[in-house]
C-alpha cells in the first residue's frame, strides 16, 4: 500500500514536473501555428516569394511555422489541399475553378499571378509571323488547362487546320525541329530556348495575355474550412506570402540567392541565369498593373472570362460566384 | 736664280739668269765647284740673262777665276751687259778678266 502510495506520489511529481517543463513548450507551440504550403511544381523562382518569406522569417513573424512541401509532377498541389495533405497550395485559376465547380471546397486567398505568362513560340525561319500562319503547322500544346488559352486563341484567329503535338515536359522536340510552334511559359521555357542558343530575334512569340486572352495563373488556395476556422491564420499566411513577394521584388539578388539555395537543396539542377530570368518575369506577371490593381487581387473580369471559356469547353456547368471563390483578406 | 749648264767644244757653259747676290751666290758656288772638281778646266759664265749682280756675286766670279787659274784652267765671261757690265766696270775688273760677247766667241778664243 505504501508502495502504491509512493508510486502515485512519484507519478504525480513526474506529471507536475513534466507539466512545468512542458508548459512553455506547449505555450510556444500555441504561439506558432503549424501550416504547410505545397507549390504546384518543383522548387524554382516561380515560388520565390514563399521561399523568401520562409527564409526571412515573415511566416514566423506572422505566427506561422510554415513547412514548404516539395511540389512537382505526380503531386498535384490543389489535390493535396483538398485532401488535407497541405494547408495551402499554389495552383492555377482554371484548375481551381473546375475543382470548385465540381464541388471541392477550395477558396482563392490571393491571386498572385495576375497576368498570364503562357505563350506560343515559333522560329522566324519557319515563316510563322502572324497567328494565321499557324495553319497547317505542327503546334506543341501542353495538356490540361494549358490548352485552354490556346483554344481561345485559335478560335479567335480562325486557325482551324493545325497539327497538335503533345508537348510534355521538355522543349527538346521544338529545339530539334519537331515542332513549328511550341508552348512556353514566358518565365521558363522561353528562356530555356534562349539559353539553348536561339536569339530572341530569331523567335516570333504570341503572348496570349497581350491578345486579350489573360487567364491569371498561380493563386493561393486553401480549404474553405480552414478559412472559416482560422481566418487569422489564413490572413497571416497571405500577408506573409505577399510580404515575401514584395520583398523579393525589392531585393531581387537576395531573393535569387535564397531561391538558388532552395533549388540546390532539392537536388534539382538549375542555373543562376535561368532563375534570375524567372524571378524577373515573376515580377512582371505578379506586380499589379492598371487602375484598381492590388497585389493578390483576382480581377473579376478575368475571372468571368476564364469561367466563360470553361463553360464553353464544357469543363464546368456553371461558374461559381466570384465572392464565394475569391476571399480577399484584409 | 737659274743656272743652265751646257757643253760646247770641251768647255762647260754656266748660263745664269735672274739675280746673283748674297742669297743666290751659294748655288752658283756649288755648281762651279762641282764643275771644277769634276776636272773641268774651261768654264764660261754666260751673263746674258742675268739681271743683277751684287758685290757678293762679283766676289764669286773673282774667286772662281782664281780657283780655275790655280788649276791651270780658265774662267771666261760672256754676255756681260747692262747693269752687270757696269758693276764689273765700276769695280775696275772689267779689263782684268777675259770678257766676250757670246759663249761661242769665248770658246772660239781658246
Amino acid at each position: 500500500m505504501i508502495k502504491q502510495l509512493i508510486r502515485i506520489v512519484t507519478l504525480g511529481l513526474v506529471l507536475a514536473l513534466a507539466g512545468a517543463l512542458l508548459h512553455p513548450v506547449i505555450a510556444r507551440a500555441d504561439a506558432l501555428r503549424r501550416v504547410s504550403l505545397i507549390p504546384q511544381w518543383m522548387p524554382q523562382a516561380q515560388f520565390a516569394g514563399y521561399m523568401v518569406a520562409l527564409k526571412k522569417g515573415f511566416y514566423r513573424e506572422a505566427g506561422l511555422d510554415l513547412t514548404l512541401l516539395p511540389g512537382g509532377p505526380g503531386r498535384p498541389s490543389l489535390e493535396c489541399v483538398i485532401n488535407g495533405q497541405a494547408s495551402f497550395a499554389t495552383g492555377w485559376l482554371t484548375t481551381a475553378i473546375q475543382r470548385r465547380a465540381a464541388g471541392a471546397p477550395l477558396v482563392n486567398l490571393a491571386q498572385i499571378v495576375q497576368r498570364s505568362a503562357l505563350m506560343l513560340v515559333t522560329l522566324r525561319s519557319s515563316g510563322i509571323h502572324r497567328p494565321r500562319d499557324l495553319n497547317g503547322k505542327r503546334v506543341g500544346l501542353w495538356g490540361g488547362d494549358f490548352s485552354l488559352p490556346p483554344w481561345v486563341f485559335f478560335r479567335k484567329h480562325e486557325i482551324r487546320d493545325i497539327r497538335i503535338v503533345p508537348q510534355y515536359h521538355s522543349i527538346d522536340l521544338f529545339l530539334k525541329g519537331g515542332l513549328d510552334a511550341a508552348s512556353a511559359m514566358w518565365y521558363n521555357e522561353y528562356h530555356l530556348m534562349i539559353n539553348s542558343g536561339i536569339d530572341p530575334d530569331e523567335l516570333n512569340t504570341f503572348m496570349f495575355a497581350e491578345d486579350g486572352i489573360n487567364f491569371p495563373e498561380d493563386g493561393l488556395y486553401c480549404r474553405e474550412e480552414l478559412l472559416q476556422a482560422a481566418p487569422e491564420v489564413c490572413g497571416a499566411f497571405v500577408l506573409a506570402s505577399l510580404r515575401g513577394w514584395t520583398y523579393t521584388f525589392e531585393h531581387p539578388e537576395e531573393a535569387l540567392t535564397i531561391v538558388m539555395d532552395s533549388v540546390r537543396d532539392s537536388g534539382v539542377g538549375a542555373n543562376t541565369a535561368h532563375q534570375r530570368w524567372m524571378l524577373a518575369r515573376m515580377a512582371d506577371i505578379i506586380r499589379p498593373r492598371g487602375p484598381g490593381a492590388r497585389l493578390g487581387r483576382l480581377d473579376p473580369d478575368d475571372y468571368n472570362q476564364v469561367g466563360r471559356v470553361l463553360m464553353e469547353k464544357g469543363l464546368i456547368d456553371s461558374l461559381p460566384p466570384y465572392i464565394d471563390f475569391f476571399k480577399e483578406l484584409p | 736664280m737659274q743656272i743652265v749648264v751646257s757643253e760646247k767644244g770641251g768647255a762647260k757653259i754656266m748660263a745664269l739668269s735672274g739675280r746673283l747676290d748674297a742669297v743666290t751666290v751659294g748655288e752658283a758656288e756649288h755648281q762651279l765647284n762641282t764643275l771644277i772638281e769634276s776636272g773641268q778646266s774651261i768654264v764660261v759664265i754666260d751673263f746674258e740673262t742675268l739681271e743683277y749682280i751684287s758685290s757678293a756675286g762679283l766676289r764669286f766670279v773673282l774667286a772662281g777665276a782664281k780657283k780655275l787659274q790655280a788649276r791651270n784652267g780658265k774662267l771666261l765671261l760672256a754676255g756681260l751687259g747692262g747693269v752687270v757690265k757696269e758693276v764689273f766696270e765700276l769695280a775696275g775688273f772689267y779689263d782684268l778678266l777675259p770678257v766676250f760677247d757670246t759663249p761661242d766667241q769665248a770658246i772660239g778664243s781658246l
Binding site: P166, Y168, K176, S196, N271 | L58, R59, F93, D95
Partner: protein, 645 residues
Amino acid sequence: MRFFFGRSLATRMVLYVLGGTVLVFVIIMGDTYLSSRDIILQQARQNATDLADAMAQKIEKNMWGIAKVPQALAGFIEICDWTDKTLLKLIQRQVEDHPEIYGSAVAFEPGAYHPNQRSYAPYFYRTPIGIRFVQLATDNYDYFMMNWYHVPRTLGVADWSEPYLDEGGGGVIMSTYSVPFFQTGPEGGAPHIRGIITADVSLDWLSELIARISREKTGYAFLMSEFGTFIAHPRTEYIMRESVFSLAETYKEPELRKLGRDMIRKPEGFVGLNSILTDNKPAFLAYTRVQSTGWCLAVVFPKDELLNDLYVLNQRAAIMAGIGILLLFLIILLIARSITGPLRRIVQATARMAGGDLEIDLKDIRGRDEVGRLARSFDRMSTELKQYICDLTEATAARERIEGELNIAAQIQKSILPCCFPPFPDRDEFDLYAMMQPAREVAGDFYDFFFIDDDRLALIMADVSGKGIPASLFMMVSRTMLKSIATRGEPPDVVLAEANNLLCQGNDTVMFVTVFLAYYDVGTGRLTYANGGHNPALLLDSEGHVREFGQKKGAALGFMPDLPYQVGEMDLKTGETLVLYTDGVTEALSPEEEMFGEERFAALLGRNRGLALEDQGNRVGITLDEFQAGNQFDDITIMFMKRKR
C-alpha cells in the same frame, strides 16, 4: 678610382658598348620571343585542333558503336518473326553483351504490341548484382511522354537524347539512343512507326576522358550538348546545370553567346578568347563536333600555360643577358680604365711638362697596344725635348756670347772710326762730317780722314765686298793698311797700288775693297784723288748743282796685284761741298725693289745744301730709312766736306 661620368672615355665606352649590346640583346630576344611565341601559338592551334579532333573521334567511335546495337535490334524486330519471350531474351542479351549499355527497352506504340494493350515497354538494365527487368508501362509512368520516346517518335528518326540526370539519384549523366522501328503499312503503303528501341548509356566515362585530358599540364577540355549544356567540364558545378549561354548571360558576355552559337552550329572552329569560359584568362579554344550526337567538344589552351615555358625560357635568357651585361659592364670598365688610366697619367705628365717639369716617367705603362705605344713615344718625346732644350739653351748661350762679342766688335769698330765731330775744331778752312750706318752689327764700309801734313787732309771712303764679320775684318785690315801707307805722303795712286799689292797677299777668300782716296790741300783747295773701283765722288755747289768726278778708276783693291791706278785733280771752290759715299746709298732698295739712285740722291743733296753738314747727313739717313721702309741691305756711309775759306 674616380670616374668622371659624363665626359670620360670610360663612360662613353660603357654607354655606347653597353647601349649597343643591350639594344642587340633586346632586338634578338624580342625577335626570338615573338617568333617563338608565334610558333608556339601556331603549334598550339594545331595541337588544340588535333586534340579536339582526336577526342571527338574517340567519343564518336563509342557512341556510334553503341548506336549500332539498338539499330540492329530494330532491324531484327522489323524483319524477323519473334515471340514475346524471344523479344525479352533479345533485349536482355543486348544489355548483357554490351557493358557500355546501361539499359535497353523496346517501347511500343499504343496497340502496336497487342491490339488491346495500350502500352508495352520491357526494359532490361544493369545493376551491380546483374541484369534486372522492369516493365516501364505502368500507371505511374507514362513513357509516351518521355523525351526518349516522344521526340524520336514525333521526328520519326533515330536520335540521341539530350543528356539528362538519372532520376534514380546518384546524379549519373545519361543519354538515350532511341531508334524508331516501323511496320510496313497495309498494301505496301507508307510504313508507320511501331515503337521505339532504346539504349541508355551512362556518360560517366566522358567525364573521365575529359578529366584525363585536363590533368595534363596544358589545357583542358569540355563537352557541350547540341544545345550548349555542359555535359563534361573540369568545373563540375557547370555539368548539367549551366550552358555556354547561361554563362554568357550570368557574366554578361555577349561575345561568348555568339561563340556558343557558333560552337553548336559550326562543324569546327578555333578562336582566341578571354572569357569566363576560359576562367577569365586569355586562351585558345578549338572545337569540333561529335558527329552522331551533335555534341561539341572543345579544347582550351590557356595562353599563359602555353607560353609558360617560353616565359621561363625568356626569363632565363633575360637573367643570363642581365648577368652577361653586368659582366660586360665590368669588363668594359676594366678595359676603359686600362686605357684612361695611362691616358690620364699622360695628360697629367703633359700638364707638368707644359709647366716646365720635364721629368716624367711613363715607363711603367707597358703594353704593346696603342696606349703603350703612346706612352713610349711620349717618353721619347720628353727625352728628345729635354735634349732639344738642352741644345737650345747651349745654342742660345753660344749665340748670346757671339752677340755679345759682336756688340763688342761693333763698339770697337765704331770707336775706331772717327766719329767726333767737328774733328778739327781749330781748322776753320772746312767743315767735315761723316757717318756710317752698318747693315748689320759690324760693317764693311769705312771712312777715314787724317792730316798727312799741315796742309793736306787725307779723305778715305771705302767699301769692302760683303757685309758682316768677314767684311768688317777685311775692313779693319784695309783701313789700317791705307792709313799707314797714306801717312807716308805718297800720291794717292801710289798709295792705292801699294795697298792693293799688300791686300792681295794672303787673300784667299778674294775679298776686295773699293777705295776713294783724296788729299785735300786746305790752303789751295785742291783735291788730289785716286779711285780704286769705288763710285765717283760728288761735288755740291752753293746753288745745289751736283756733279760727279773721279769716274776713271782702277780696279778694286785685293783682287789682283800690280794693277795701275790713276790720279786726278780737282779744285774745290769756297762754299762747295765734297760728298763721298758708298753704293749703299744709291743702291738702297724700296720694298718695290726700286733703287734710290744717283738722281734722287743728287736732288736730296741739293735740297738740303743749306743745312749744317751733320743735319744733311741725318736727313740722308732718315730719307733712306724711309725709302727702304726699314730694311737696310747694305752699309750706308757718307762723308761731307765743305770748303769754308
